[in-house]
């Protein structure tokens, strides 16, 4: 792992003001006046944003709030109409995506982008930075890159073991389940050894059994000194693991704060969580669904009986 990722104590966030765009003691990303317009819709309109180094920051908000668009803008996959932002003091406006990634700011995608027709281990090897075997002139001469490849493979195997994907090492990545793909994408991003890892909905489509282990993995990223920024709809996850929450609505940052404070904020509750934010919606739904299904079944049974006679 990178030498510059010191395992210092987690920064204290208690002193930070709970207002949109608040100043952070040690910001890794600082952005100003970032806007992106799609036709008549202002998808992103962020006045000021700072992401604290060494903690897990959650970016939440209703659908269409501009979270993923902001992700795309920050990582260079989309170009904003106005605005400037920096990573570790390095200005990033109009920097192409691969250069952003090389600086140490690596993202994953909402719809996982594992390379289905490459094996799991090849997916991992692809992530390694600065491979001399990827140079056209050296590629045909294996003795120039073989030892480097072996080192990368070793590191990849360690990560696969950590993410419990080592049993799938030689399988095509396309044969993995949705949750395993999320894990592979995260592990592959770690091959780049990023300082800031940006996860776009890491829990979407992941079964509950795998969710717990995914949560653990995200926490472990912070514990080894990386900064994590993630977009998520799953409130349990946000409450569980994030140190700081930024709430977006209609392209703007509407609130910021620690998870508990944000979820108690009436503005956030109105805008996003709704009145039922304390009851477990999924459980309620289940009961309602069951009752509905039973009624349907009975009706059907009755139907066939009358037809049969």
């Amino acid at each position: 792992m990178a030498a510059d990722l010191g395992k210092t104590a987690r920064p204290d966030l208690t002193g930070i003001e709970h207002v949109p765009g608040s100043k952070k003691p040690d910001a890794i990303v600082v952005g100003d006046h970032i806007t992106r317009q799609f036709g008549g819709l202002k998808a992103v309109d962020v006045g000021h944003i700072e992401i604290q180094r060494g903690v897990i920051t959650a970016l939440i908000g209703p659908n269409g709030a501009g979270k993923t668009t902001l992700f795309n803008l920050l990582t260079g996959f989309d170009t904003p109409d106005t605005g400037e932002w920096s990573f570790n003091g390095h200005p990033l406006a109009r920097v192409v995506p691969h250069k952003v990634a090389r600086l140490g700011m690596v993202r994953t995608f909402q719809l996982t982008k594992v390379l289905a027709k490459l094996s799991v281990i090849e997916n991992m090897r692809l992530g390694a930075k600065g491979q001399s075997g990827e140079s056209f002139l050296k590629a045909a001469l294996p003795f120039l890159w073989r030892s480097e490849e072996a080192r990368n493979t070793e590191r990849a195997d360690e990560l696969l073991a950590r993410f419990k994907l080592d049993a799938k090492r030689e399988d095509f990545a396309g044969s993995l389940s949705g949750g395993q793909r999320k894990l592979l994408e995260m592990a592959r991003a770690l091959m780049v050894d990023p300082e800031l890892i940006m996860l776009d909905e890491p829990m979407a489509g992941v079964n509950p059994a795998l969710k717990q282990s995914l949560l653990g993995h995200v926490k472990s990223l912070r514990d080894e000194g990386r900064t994590v920024l993630f977009v998520e709809h799953d409130m349990d996850m946000v409450r569980d693991i994030s140190d700081w929450v930024i709430v977006m609505a209609q392209g703007q940052i509407v609130a910021e704060g620690t998870p508990d404070a944000v979820m108690a904020d009436p503005a956030v509750i109105d805008a996003y969580l709704g009145a039922h934010h304390d009851t477990d919606l999924s459980e309620m739904d289940e009961k309602a669904l069951e009752a509905e299904a039973e009624a349907e079944l009975e009706a059907e049974l009755h139907d066939t009986e009358t037809k049969g006679s």
Partner: protein
């Protein structure tokens, strides 16, 4: 694997005994192939009718509760057996005494000559280039003929029009496709794949028309093209002066006759050079594609954004692939110019590109040997079919009924057959001969 698949299948009929029994698809396939075999397909589909029929019967016997149609499957098999017997008898007769005026031995010899001869080599080289573009990187280059044209004209114009030495001509021929790739790549490679396809096919046509135009006749020779530049190549022919069996003496024969094949000395020389070139290109592709560089190309083929997010400069790698494949295309053009000792613009039409694609798809994309084997099979088929149909329609009383096909249609019908064959290939074996079925089967992201 098999046991786990079987258990639910055998339980199913018990759970749903009223379910209608259906005919396995193999039954229909078998009957269609069987009928084709004894009519249009001259027996060639009959062995497959037997195979499919047997598969169908096996399926029905294994699970009679789910499938019916056993009698029909037997009909398919019988049709297949009849057709196969007829095919074997016909082939034996054709090869021994000649059958109905068609010399099958001659057909086979023509086909083999072309499969190993210089024409197949031209397409093999062009298809190796397309394999780098399309097979490995996913770049849709529909203008391989353009790369070939600049290679061929690079040599001819340097030697004939500018009166420069032959070696310089070769250098220009290798440099021109590289430049073309750069010019095409800079504006289009940042865009979606479709744009490259449009730009390349348009550029190839523009180049062909410019090379054949009256206005540029003084440089490119108009529609007659250029010749008289390949002297150095022809003079270097070792078979003119050198005899394998009699060192020092002149070669004692005009043609090399190997019973089933026969080549002129000129072709023999072109074949030695050509197959060496093909081997060299395959070696380069093989060495590159097993490296991390090759892995990157395959990754780009699947998802550019994923590769970008890992800090790789996708544009640069696509450009490198375009240049490398274009260089192979230019080599194909250069080789074509050398082996036929003249460049004519009409040789570099879109047909050239599309047939090279056919060769690639037959052999299997993203496999080193795929384009080479594909080009050999393609030339075996189209030259064999031409010879066959030409013989079948020749003379005052042709074998083929004239209402079905006459002599003028004989050389065209083979392309109809190639098209049909390509469709069947895409349906039943989309990965080509060498491809990996699993790679095609996985399509989820």
């Amino acid at each position: 694997m098999n046991t786990t698949e079987k258990s639910p299948a055998t339980e199913e009929p018990k759970a749903a005994p009223t379910q209608a029994r259906r005919t396995p698809p193999e039954v229909v396939t078998s009957i269609v192939l069987g009928i084709l075999g004894i009519t249009l397909a001259l027996g060639f589909t009959s062995p497959f009718a037997i195979i499919k029929g047997r598969q169908a019967v096996a399926k029905i016997d294994e699970d009679p509760a789910r499938y019916d149609g056993r009698p029909l499957a037997m009909v398919g098999q019988v049709l297949g057996i009849v057709g196969t017997v007829w095919l074997v008898a016909w082939l034996v007769l054709s090869f021994t005494v000649g059958f109905a005026g068609i010399d099958m031995f001659d057909v086979l010899r023509t086909a083999l000559n072309q499969a190993l001869g210089p024409n197949a080599i031209v397409y093999a080289l062009a298809a190796i280039g397309l394999n780098v573009h399309f097979g490995y990187t996913g770049l849709l280059n529909f203008g391989q003929a353009g790369f070939m044209a600049v290679g061929a004209y690079g040599l001819a114009v340097t030697v004939v029009t500018w009166d420069q030495p032959f070696v310089l001509g070769i250098l220009v021929a290798l440099l021109a496709p590289v430049l073309l790739a750069l010019v095409l790549g800079v504006p289009t490679l940042r865009l979606r794949a479709d744009y490259l396809a449009i730009a390349t096919i348009a550029t190839a046509e523009i180049l062909r028309l410019v090379f054949g135009a009256v206005e540029t006749k003084s440089v490119f020779g108009g529609s007659n093209g250029l010749n008289n530049y390949a002297g150095t190549y022809q003079d270097a022919n070792i078979f003119r002066t050198w005899d394998v069996f009699n060192p020092g003496g002149a070669l004692g024969f005009d043609r090399l006759d190997l019973w089933i094949m026969s080549f002129s000395k000129r072709d023999l020389w072109s074949m030695v050079i050509g197959w060496l070139l093909v081997a060299l290109c395959c070696l380069v592709v093989w060495a590159l594609m097993r490296s991390p560089w090759g892995r990157l190309l395959r990754a780009i083929r699947e998802d550019e954004d994923a590769v970008r997010s890992l800090g790789k400069n996708v544009f640069a790698y696509k450009m490198q692939a375009l240049v490398l494949g274009g260089l192979f295309g230019g080599l194909a053009g250069l080789y074509l110019a050398l082996k036929q000792a003249s460049v004519v613009p009409s040789d570099y039409s879109t047909n050239m590109t599309f047939l090279a694609f056919v060769a690639l798809l037959i052999g299997g994309a993203a496999r080193v040997a795929g384009p080479v084997i594909g080009a050999m099979i393609l030339w075996f088929l189209i030259s064999g079919m031409r010879e066959f149909f030409e013989q079948a329609t020749a003379g005052a009383d042709p074998v083929m009924p004239t209402w079905l096909m006459d002599n003028t249609q004989a050389s065209l019908i083979r392309f109809v057959a190639v098209g049909l064959g390509l469709m069947l290939l895409m349906i039943f074996r989309p990965q080509g001969i060498f491809g990996d079925r699993r790679e095609i089967a996985i399509d989820g992201r």
